[in-house]
């Protein structure tokens, strides 16, 4: 006998949590699956305060948002499977799940894929040496476990993640040798860059990392200036004494389950790579298969939470039929999403989502099998 549920949610980060809270609050039988023991996804390591409006947790640290959301879900009847990975999506609306002890199946009526994104690597010599870490890995190590990733770090990428993690490294007592950025201007918010500049961290625009030095682990790095064509400029190479190279060079949606579902996938560079086509209700080309958060295009936690609410509310209506409360949540969250994407840094995502909307999916295809 295989267990079934009305709504299965893969991923307990900001998007999955909000989807679960919304749907469960509306009376849907929900199972939330996450491979960590603690919910919150990447919020649990975010020590910085969020921007935006009060409704979007402005002024609150990411890790506190995780605690708040987990507590909100805790009082609802949703079932939470911690330490459990979704290892496959089978035909006939069935998920394969595995924890440390066993493999089991879960049938569902609706599915929300909120699996998030994985960190990108970037091409340079020795980029696989131990000591070359993703910015998220560095955050996990220092902010969750209190372990220093190294003594002196080169940060690659000056987007918000690169700038914020550089600042957090300094807060943890670790030296940041430099931040390099291939583009001619800093990618992230000015406030974050200014904080670093005040601490004397050089932010080198039009610079890139050429190679990591060392045999068994990072023992140095070579950086150089790049031209407008992003090619290294001769005789500008410089050796830095660092033991860690931290990469903050973007994220790629973790779309494996969506590929497996057979839904329409579209390549949209602005959204971070291949994303499943979806409508304004976060529904993919397969009826009742939804997605929310970074897997639907790389943005931020605030939009992930709103997308989660949209998907959760719409899925609830699929299961229980239309209700004024669900429609209210849906409409509100959709309009808030629009508002955020109209902001100064919402351009890229808005552009990506618009490009996605131009594509016409083969709609209503049932799940394979």
């Amino acid at each position: 006998m295989v267990n079934t549920t009305d709504l299965a949610i893969a991923g307990g980060g900001p998007a999955g949590l909000c989807a679960a809270i919304t749907a469960s609050g509306l009376g849907v039988k929900v199972v939330l699956i996450d491979d960590n023991d603690r919910l919150g996804g990447q919020l649990v390591k975010q020590t910085h305060k969020f921007f935006g409006s009060k409704r979007h947790y402005c002024g609150t640290r990411g890790m506190d948002i995780a605690t708040t959301l987990e507590a909100e879900l805790g009082v609802l009847p949703a079932e939470v499977l911690r330490g459990t990975s979704v290892v496959g999506l089978y035909g006939g609306r069935m998920l394969g799940l595995a924890n440390r002890e066993r493999f089991f199946k879960l049938g569902f009526k609706c599915l929300i894929v909120a699996t998030g994104a994985a960190e990108n690597n970037v091409l340079f010599q020795n980029n696989d040496l131990p000591g070359v870490y993703g910015a998220g890995a560095v955050q996990t190590l220092m902010n969750v476990y209190g372990v220093k990733p190294g003594a002196r770090v080169l940060m690659v990428g000056s987007g918000n993640i690169g700038l914020i993690v550089s600042y957090q490294l300094i807060q943890a007592g670790i030296e940041v040798a430099a931040v390099v950025e291939a583009l001619p201007k800093i990618g992230g918010y000015h406030v974050h860059a200014a904080k670093l500049a005040r601490l004397g961290v050089p932010i080198l625009t039009s610079h890139t990392v050429l190679s990591a030095l060392g045999k068994e682990q990072v023992e140095g790095a070579v950086i150089c200036r790049v031209g407008e064509d992003f090619k290294p400029v001769a005789r500008t190479a410089k050796k830095l004494n660092v033991d860690t190279i931290c990469l903050a060079v973007g994220l790629t949606p973790l779309s494996e389950l969506l590929w497996q579902s057979g839904c329409n996938m579209v390549y949209v560079p602005e959204l971070g790579g291949h994303v499943a086509w979806h409508d304004e209700n976060m529904q993919t080309s397969i009826c009742q298969v939804y997605l929310a958060g970074d897997v639907s295009g790389i943005e931020e936690a605030s939009t992930a939470m709103l997308e989660g609410r949209v998907a959760g509310a719409h899925a609830a209506m699929q299961v229980l039929g239309p209700s004024p409360e669900a429609e209210r949540i849906l409409a509100e969250s959709q309009s808030e999403l629009c508002a955020i994407r109209k902001g100064p840094f919402g351009d890229k995502a808005a552009c990506g989502k618009a490009r996605l909307a131009e594509c016409v999916p083969v709609a209503g295809v049932p799940a394979r099998g």
Partner: protein, 137 residues
């Protein structure tokens, strides 16, 4: 559960080990001395108890509530395995169970993602070469 809180105070733990100095000028002593964050403006890390484990037969100490990867990093171990085709050294990259760069042999079980595996008392952690071998293979 994690050992982190940011209200309670923590006790600082320092450890020393002998590591050869680097040819590139990074003082390894810096790395080996205080790998635990002892002062932080926002967070304090509570030591919720030592956990003894073995790395390549060497006895090491980590903390309750952390992963094997975090415990190894705190002990200055960065090289986790050698890649299958090239034999190149590898450590963790994503630390959240996505990239599979941190596969090690844990209590004889190869391909264990140590960035997700909780540290247990007495666990035997070994570097993995290539795809690893199952017991009896």
């Amino acid at each position: 559960m994690h050992a982190r809180t940011y209200k309670a105070k923590s006790k600082v733990e320092s450890r020393k080990s002998k590591v050869p100095s680097s040819p590139f000028g990074v003082r390894r002593s810096q790395l080996t001395k205080g790998r635990r964050i002892d002062q932080h403006p926002i967070l304090t890390f509570e030591n919720s108890g030592p956990i003894g484990f073995f790395f390549e037969g060497r006895s090491m100490t980590g903390r309750k509530g952390e992963t094997i990867a975090a415990a190894l990093a705190a002990n200055g171990i960065r090289l986790f395995r050698h890649a299958e085709k090239t034999g190149r050294p590898r450590g963790f990259f994503c630390a959240v169970g996505k990239c599979a760069s941190c596969l090690m042999v844990v209590d004889g079980k190869p391909n264990t993602m140590v960035c997700m595996e909780p540290l247990r008392e007495g666990v035997k952690v070994e570097r993995q070469s290539g795809r690893g071998r199952l017991r009896g293979e």
